[in-house]
Structure formats: C-alpha cells, structure tokens
C-alpha cells in the first residue's frame, strides 16, 4: 500500500495532500529556511495525530508539526521531508473554566481569537506576540513565545498548566494537571514548552488566564539616542516600577509606524520608549508619574497617550512593525535573521550601541525595536532580495549580532525559537547543557522522527 493511502485511511482523503503545489506552500515559514515535505496532513483530533505518529515511527518517516507557519526560525519547516502536520484545523476552544482560572484549547486556536472570547468574561491570556492575529497557540507554546507584555507577565511557559502530548511512538501523555501548582515529579510541561516539536506533538493545552486590568495608560518618552533610552529603562525598572509593556522604537521604526498608520503621530527622535502600565485607575496614574520623573533627566520629550483609541492604534501598528519595515523602500524586503536576541537588562544600552556599530561595519541599516523591558531586542534588516552581495553582508551582520548577545551573557532567541536558523549557536550559548538536551531527545524520540534538524539536538 502506498504511504499516502495509509495517511488517507487515518485522516480521510481530503485531509492529505501530496500535490507539488501544496507542498511548495508548506516548504517555508517566515524565515529563510526551506524544506519540502512529501505529504501535508491536516488532522482533526489527537487520536488521528496519535495514529499518524505511530505509523510514521514504525516507518521512520520524519514528522514536523506546524500551526500557522508564522515562525521566524524554520521550526515548522520539514528539513528532511516526510510529513508536515498542519494542526491549524484543530482550533476548538474546549473549555472556559473561569472558576478555575483556566481554559482548555486545541493547538490550532489563533491567539487573538482566544483573547476575544476571554475579553467577554473579563479575562485574558497575557502572552502577547506581535503575530497575535495569526499565530496559533500550539506554535506559541512550542516556541515559548511571549511578546510585549512579558516584562510584567512573563512568557508562555508561565501560563501552561497541562499539555496533552503525542509522543514519537504515538502514545499520549498529560504533562501536568488542572491545579495551579504541582510538585509531582519532573516538570514535563516546562520541558515541552519551547521544545519546538522535537519531543512530541501538542494536541491540547490547559492554560492559566488572568483577570483583565481595569485601567491602562501609555507614556511615550523620546530620547536623543537609543543608549539614553536604554539607560532610562534600566533606571525605571530598578526604581521598582514594573510596566505592563516597555517597548523601544528607534528612529526608523517610528518612521515605519507613522507610515503604516498615519493616525499615529509619534514624534521623530533618536529613540522612543513606550511604557504601558495596567492596574487600577489610580495605580496607573501614579506609575506614569513615577516613570515621567525617572525619565526626565534622560528624555527630550514625554507625553501620555490621549485615550484608549490612541493606545490601541499604537499597539496594533507596533505588533506588525517587523514586516512593515519593508514599506520604506519598494525594492527591499525585511529578512528575518538575527532578529530576536535577548540580553540581561542592564546590558541593554551596551547592546544597542554594539548593534549600531555592527550596522556601520557592514554598511547595513538596522532597525531596532523590541521588548526592551525584558532585554529582548528585535533587529530589523531589509535588503534587495535579488542582490547576493547584500545577502552576504546581511548574514555576516546577523552572525555578529548573535555572537554579541552571547558575549553579553544573553541569548540568540528570546522568544522566536531556535528552529534550524539558530542551531549553530546552541553549543556556544548552552555549553554542556546541550548534551543533556540531546540525551533527552534520544530517550523520547530514539528514531529521530520528530522535527529532525532543529534545536541542535
């Protein structure tokens, strides 16, 4: 029997494709990594996923799980062919359990859809990635994504209580429980979060949710240089004020934002910090006053966003700014490489300065923006995709950005994941811990069928 027939028997004829056209559409995510699968399968439930993995394991066929394919490191790209499991069709919110402060979801639920539903209940799921409108929760969990609010609320890892995971041989486990805390053995939930589909396929998740704050305010502070902005952030955080978002935008980013949404009028400056505070009406006013006082010696201008409408406009444009940089020059396109480093927060001013010198060294404009409050900087580079020489400079600059972050005790990926794009830095960043990861991988996936070629394992 042909392999495709076996797969069709499990999920149905219409949920398997081996069409060259379809395979081409599934051969990439938003990174530069490419790999063409032999089959794309769209399962409908965990039982089907289990049968597919059992079959693939027996026949040693690689399996790569994929949500919306919005990843930036090739995590969902089938490097060694085999099956891409498109889980975006498993998109049911299974249970909203407000009394237990949790929800149960399938992996294909889109992030923003969950928050739309929770908003009506007065709750939210705090991790807030820029790709909220399109990324799936399964992908977010598998990459330990986070976003703008992690400075206060932490990353996805902090919100996962339990995962249903299909292991390489098709067996199904639950990694946690419905309780808000547990000391029962190894923390397999935290192991699976961020494992990028190399240890199992997530088919269900129980996520902790948080009450929506009663008030929010946004303070926009302008600075002459990114380094001054970085210093203001370090100073603010050390004063004991924890913003719910703390974003840096360099001059180019502000230009991009203003052109993407002309309603946003952020003043031109060397760098801008957007501080958001959430809480009660009085607490946000008090915190905004503290941040204004702290930033005053560093800033060239400070103002508070006029109203909720302005705040929403700023955030919705900010979420998509990474791609919007492509608008600046019709012949250039944003390429996601070296885009997600993280450093200890006190190293932020230094990292900003070093990024600038890398930009000068390779004669490549680098837009800097990101979640500066947790040390996560996004660097945006645009090139003419048809110019090989620009590609070369781009890759050299990205390499140097990664190595610089590691030198400052930082990480090559704060929230986007390693995939295959950043594998080569795992040894440098993780040292001997990588050997432990390799041992875990071998124990759980002895035949190496799960997302091979990723994470350096």
């Amino acid at each position: 029997m042909e392999l495709i027939t076996n797969l069709q028997e499990i999920v149905g004829i219409d949920s398997v494709s081996a069409s060259p056209m379809e395979l081409y559409c599934y051969s990439s995510d938003a990174s530069q990594i490419r790999g063409t699968p032999d089959y794309v399968v769209r399962p409908q439930d965990s039982e089907q996923v289990s049968k597919i993995l059992k079959f693939a394991n027996e026949h040693e066929i690689p399996v790569t799980a994929r949500g919306a394919g919005t990843g930036l490191a090739g995590g969902a790209v089938a490097l060694e062919g085999g099956i891409v499991l498109d889980l975006s069709g498993m998109d049911r919110i299974l249970d909203i359990d407000i009394n237990n402060l949790q929800v149960a979801v399938e992996p294909g639920v889109v992030h923003s859809k969950l928050n739309e539903v929770l908003k009506a209940e007065g709750f939210f799921f705090p991790p807030d990635p820029g790709s909220s409108a399109m990324c799936t929760l399964g992908g977010l969990i598998a990459n330990n994504g986070s976003g703008m609010r992690s400075v206060k609320y932490g990353t996805t890892r902090s919100y996962v209580l339990d995962l249903e995971v299909v292991l390489a041989d098709g067996s199904v486990i639950h990694t946690g429980s419905k309780t808000l805390k547990s000391s029962a053995g190894y923390d397999l939930t935290r192991l699976m979060v961020g494992s990028e589909g190399t240890l199992g396929v997530i088919t269900k998740a129980i996520l902790k949710i948080h009450p929506l704050p009663k008030a929010r305010t946004v303070v926009l502070a302008s600075f002459e240089t990114p380094e001054l902005a970085g210093e203001a952030v370090v100073k603010t955080l050390s004063e004991g004020v924890i913003p719910s978002a703390c974003e840096i935008l360099d001059r180019t980013t502000v230009e991009v934002l203003n052109s993407y949404d002309p309603n946003i009028a952020i003043p031109d400056a060397g760098a801008t910090i957007l501080f958001e505070f959430d809480g009660t009406k009085s607490s946000v006013v008090e915190e905004a006053e503290i941040v204004e006082a702290v930033c005053k010696p560093f800033a060239s201008g400070i103002r508070v966003a006029a109203d909720r409408k302005e705040m929403e406009e700023i955030w919705s444009a900010r979420r998509l700014v990474g791609a919007a940089i492509s608008r600046i020059n019709p012949n250039k396109t944003r390429v996601y490489v070296g885009e997600d480093v993280g450093v200890p927060i006190k190293e932020i001013p230094r990292m900003l300065k070093l990024v600038q010198s890398i930009s000068d060294e390779f004669d490549l404009p680098i837009m800097t923006y990101g979640h500066v409050g947790d040390g996560n900087l996004h660097t945006g580079m645009c090139i003419d995709m048809l110019d090989n020489e620009q590609w070369e400079r781009l890759n050299l600059a990205a390499d140097k950005i990664h190595k610089t972050a590691i030198m400052l005790d930082g990480t090559v990926s704060a929230e986007h994941g390693i995939g295959s794009a950043r594998c080569e830095y795992m040894r440098l960043e993780r040292g001997d811990a990588l050997d432990v990861m390799i041992l875990i991988k071998r124990a759980l996936d002895p035949k190496g069928i799960l997302n091979p070629g990723k994470l350096g394992v």
Binding site: M21, E22, R42, A68, G69, S326
Partner: protein, 352 residues
C-alpha cells in the same frame, strides 16, 4: 518558465498576517487557499513549479476582495500579483474550462452572461427618448441590464432628473475578463469610443466591478462616479421623503475597499431611513464570495462564503441594501432571509 514579476512576489515576507483576514483560507484551510500561499505559488511558478490543476485552483479561487492587500504590513499587493499571473498563464493557454467559457461568452455576445438579446431591452418602450449627447452617461453593466432590470430602471429613472443618457451600444466593461486573466482591450476600446460619441464628461456606474474597472483600466479622460456618490452629492435636488424602514448595507469589495467609497452610500441611506450596520462593515466588510471569477468558477465555494457574509446581517432590518448587482445576485442565491435590494431602489421608494 513563466516570466513572473519576482520583485512584487518577494515583497511578501511570509509573516502570515493575511491568514487572519483571507476568507477563502478560513473556509478551505489549506495554505494554498490563502494570500500567502498564492504568493508562494507565484514564486514557485517563477522557479519552475509545474502549472497543474492545483495551481490554477489556488490562483483562481482568489476573489480579489482586497482584505490581504489592505492589511499587509509589508506593503505587498497580492491582488496585482495574482491577476498578473492569471494573465500570463492565460496567454500561454493555461486556464480552466470556466475561464474559457467566460471568455467565449463575452467575446461572442459582448456580455458576461452570454445573452443574445438586446442589452437595452429593459428600456421597453422608452428607447426613442434617449438623448444622443449628455453631460453624464449611465454605464449599466451586464448583470444590471440582463438580470436586474427593475434596479436599472430605478436607476435610470432617478438619474433622468439630470442630464444623463446611455451609451448607444454598451458592451461588457471588461472586468470579468481582466479579473480572470484575459485582455479586455477590445471591450474597452469599444466603450471608450461610445463615451466619446456621447460627449459625457462623467460616467455613472451602478456596479462595483464596472466602477473599479472603469477607473483602473480605462483612459482617464473622463470622470467615473458610482451612482451612490452621484446621489449623495445631489440629495437636496431629489425631494426625498423619509421612509419608516431600518436597513443594513453590504459594502461591495471593489467599491469599498478597492475604491474607498464608504460614506456616499451611507449618506444616501441615512437621508431616507435608518441604517443598522452589518457585523463587519466598511474596510472590514466580508466579501459576498462572488468576485474575481469565483462565482463562475467555484460556485460551491462562493456559496459557502456568502452564507458566512449573511451571518453578518443584523436582526430587525427590513432590507439588505447593496450597490453592486453581483453582490445582490450572490446574496439572494445564498438564501438571504432579508430582502436584498439595490441602493437606488431604496431611493426610488423615497421619491415623492
């Protein structure tokens, strides 16, 4: 290998933001059914991907509704890329049976419906009273002329208060041809010659597809306004009474998102009755599922999409108002519980 404008294709950074808005992707689920997938298919073709039935289906199931273009953070224009590729494929002879039939109908009969009868039959006895020259010309469109005579009569009746005439020998504006990859040069040249003969400075359209095409693909020697814009500007001259009705309004993609005409129809509606908006409206309005050749080529998909659009109709409205006969057709055939009428029919109800 097909010559593809690679630079426009590479403008897509594959961030997937369009996944959140593409109605076809939402319905079908496969990556190839969304804007990002179609950009990848275009890229694949430039790299030697064989053009098979699956490729044609991916490219031809785009309704050109413009949601992806409107929200694309990177500034890519998937509609242009898709229409260009459709064109290049058609030039090479790669097309579906539905495309071939559509082309044959239009070139043989001058209308998208393949009707052999006269385009002006809706006029009935009044043919003799049509002016030879006028400041304005009413461009009727195929669907209006052959399928919705009552709304065309209403439109011409309302417009007869002004210096408006018809083209002596109007043919299809070319929209269905251009959307599905064909040249429409002959149709365009024929209509342009007619417009010059009439001497009009402005063309008034009542179909979103005609409107978009007359602006986009015709020489810019005359002004093009949609009848909703024309009426909004001349409301005070029409002596309209207030109707005891509440209606809702469906924004046609090629009039709204593509041409930015949102306020005019609303101004006309609220001048005569109450308006209750659909769940998604203006820039965010869902497509009726009819555009881009999807109604003709993929009727089942089109039907599934119009059913979703109909779920946006609010409770307690007397009419669902449209300003495009293709939308009207799809909304009616999709089983609308609310009566679907053209904006101008509403205006005529309000005329004293």
């Amino acid at each position: 290998m097909l010559d593809v404008d690679l630079r426009s294709v590479l403008k897509c950074v594959r961030c997937g933001a369009c996944r959140s808005v593409c109605p076809v992707l939402e319905e079908v689920g496969w990556e190839s059914a969304g804007a990002r997938g179609r950009m990848l298919v275009a890229h694949g073709i430039s790299q030697g991907l064989d053009v098979d039935d699956d490729v044609l289906e991916s490219l031809n199931t785009c309704m050109t509704c413009g949601m992806c273009k409107q929200m694309c953070p990177a500034g890519a224009n998937p509609i242009n890329v898709i229409e260009n590729i459709r064109h290049r494929l058609v030039m090479k002879g790669d097309m579906t049976e539905a495309q071939k039939k559509l082309h044959k109908r239009i070139t043989e009969t001058g209308n998208s419906l393949g009707e052999e009868s006269g385009r002006r039959e809706w006029l009935g006895e009044c043919t003799g009273s049509i002016k030879e020259t006028a400041e304005y010309v009413y461009f009727v469109g195929c669907l209006g002329a052959y399928r919705y005579p009552e709304s065309v009569i209403a439109t011409f009746d309302v417009l007869s208060h002004f210096d408006v005439t018809l083209l002596p020998d109007e043919v299809c504006c070319g929209s269905p041809l251009i959307r599905t990859g064909f040249d429409a040069d002959k149709m365009i040249a024929h209509n342009v010659e007619q417009i010059r003969m009439v001497g009009a400075h402005t063309i008034i359209t009542s179909c979103a597809g005609c409107h978009n095409t007359l602006i986009q693909s015709y020489p810019d020697e005359f002004k093009v306004v949609h009848v909703s814009e024309f009426l909004a500007e001349h409301l005070s001259e029409l002596e309209l009474k207030r109707l005891d009705l509440t209606v809702t309004y469906h924004d046609a993609c090629h009039l709204g998102r593509c041409r930015g005409v949102f306020d005019a129809p609303r101004k006309v509606i609220t001048a005569v009755c109450d308006l209750k908006e659909m769940k998604t409206n203006r820039e965010d309005a869902r497509c009726c599922g009819g555009g881009g050749g999807v109604r003709t080529g993929y009727p089942e998909l089109s039907l599934a999409l119009v059913k979703k659009r109909l779920m946006d109709v609010p409770d307690g409205v007397d009419y669902l108002i449209t300003s495009c006969p293709l939308c009207t057709k799809n909304l009616i055939e999709g089983g609308s519980d609310t009566d679907v009428i053209d904006l101008v029919e509403l205006v005529r109800l309000a005329m004293k």
